[in-house]
Structures are given as structure tokens and as C-alpha cells.
Amino acid sequence: MDNVFNPFSLENKTILVTGASSGIGQATAVACARMGADVVITGRNAERLQRTSDMMPNGAKSQEVADLTNPDDLKRLVAAMPALDGAVLCAGNSTTLPLQFGSREKFDGMFDVNFFAPVELLRLLYKKKVLNKGGSVVLIASIGGTHSFMPGNGVYGASKAALNSVMKYAAREYAARKVRVNSICPGMVDTPLIHRGTITEEQLAEDAKRYPLGRYGLPDDIANGAIYLLSDASCWLTGHDLVIDGGFSI
């Protein structure tokens, strides 16, 4: 196997994945492990984190239960980190709300989870030199707010657009240590987040038909993009928002 050409290998890399107990985070954590990485996983629920670890060939390197919106949890998480070659910040939330109902309270709730938590984690990982030189950070943003502006997605999209903006500034500044920072902007991905009932299953099925490739994304579709961005295959790529959306935003 040593002779197989594989520029996407993650062997000898230690990678942190947040939001690893479900959806895109879970798929990414498992995919990184299958590509040979030592994976540190974090999420809010110990039982579900264990389930993610169980899906890995040799289990997770470590598991940290943390709510990233809680400053103490976040500090404890950073302190517990081994040196990292990569991080994929997947933890996030969504809401479907017409803008006229987007009160400050609703925006704050969405920005706490989707913007302030990952931005603070990214800041501390860099400032405390947890990220090795040449490391790679992947933020999970969205086509919402940057490439697509569907009614009802304003509060969510604004939080992801803000995250995408910080990604680009960080890419410029963190290049000083050759740390790369990129994002993935997925279209609708079939995760528990979209099945909370505000949009009915029938409406979701109808909406999926509007994607040129004929379906919503799967968590693995996004995980595969993260593998590329974490691997040395993308070593000359930084500040990029990789759209993975089945052609929706064309």
C-alpha cells in the first residue's frame, strides 16, 4: 500500500473536529480517521461522541465534552488539546425565520453558536500555538449568506457570511505561520438539523429537486471536501470558500 499515490492522506496528522456527535461533524471525524489521522472529537453529548468514536477504525484519540458557547468549556477544551495539524469547526445551528421576525435576541442566539464560538476557538488555537506550523483549519460555513439568499434564511445566512469573512482575514494573518484557513460552503445537507419540522418533509423533497445534481448533500459529500482542505493536496490553498452544493448556486 505504501506505493499507492495518495495526496489526500491524513497519516501522521492530529485533527480536531467540533460538532462531532452528529451530521457533518460526525461524518468528517470518521472520514479523517479512515484517512489515517488521529482525531480529537468534541461535542455536547458524551454518549453521542462515543458513538462517533465507535465508528472509527481505531476510535478517537480523545473525546472532549464541551458546549463551545460556554467560555469555560471552550478554555478547558483548548487547554486539553494536543498539538494539532488541523481543525474542522463544524458545530453550528440553523433556523428558518422571516427577517421581520429576526429580533436582536434571535440574531444573538444564532451568532453565539455559528460565529462567536468558532471564531473564539480559532483565535485561541492560533494564539496559544496549539496549531502546528503548516496546519490547516476548515470552517463549515454555508452557501446561505454568500452565494444564496433564500427567504427565511437571513438570520442563519448572516451568521455564516460573517464566519466566512473572518476565515479570509485569518487566512491572511495566519499565513505568517503557514497556517491555512479555508471554509466549505455547503448547500442543503441531509442532517438532523433540517428535519426539525419547520419545513415539512414534502417541502424538503420538493426543494431537493431544485438542485441540478438532483438531491440534497450527504454529510460524506462535505467530509470529502474537508479531507482535501486538511491534506497536503491543498497545501497552496488558503482563504478559499469551497462551494459544495450539487450545483444549486450556479
Partner: protein, 85 residues
Amino acid sequence: MNNGYIITMNIQDFIDNFASQFDDTDETVFTAETKFKQLDEWSSLTALSIIAMVDDEYDVIIKGNDIINSETIQDLFNVVEKQVH
């Protein structure tokens, strides 16, 4: 009407709140028996606004299916009233 701890639901207030989510349909059209999904102006965005209005005004989270399964405004009122606390 919010009298402190218990929200007592009133059908006319509910109809008024419901009607507020429309821009081009005359207020007089809206009664408890209005089959709201048959209105020309009805759209998926209106549905989202109704869900958000119910959350704002009654602190009740309804789902898309509650709207699908309600024919009249009274039907939806009944769904919300059951969950009001």
C-alpha cells in the same frame, strides 16, 4: 391576552395576528372559517411567518405539518391553544 402567567387565547386576536402576515389580502376576508391556503397570496414564506408569529405571540412552536394539516384558521387556533402554557 397575557394576564401574567397564563396566556388565554382569543380567536379574534389570533385572526388579527394571522391577518397581519398578509400584505395584499383585505382584513375583512379573515374569519375563523377562512380556508387560508386557498388565498391567492398564500406562499411558503407566509407559512414561515405564521410559524414565527405563533412563536412570538403565544410562545408555542408549531411545525410545517401543523399548517399543512389545518384547513381553516380555527383549525390552527385549536392546535396552538392545546400547546399554550
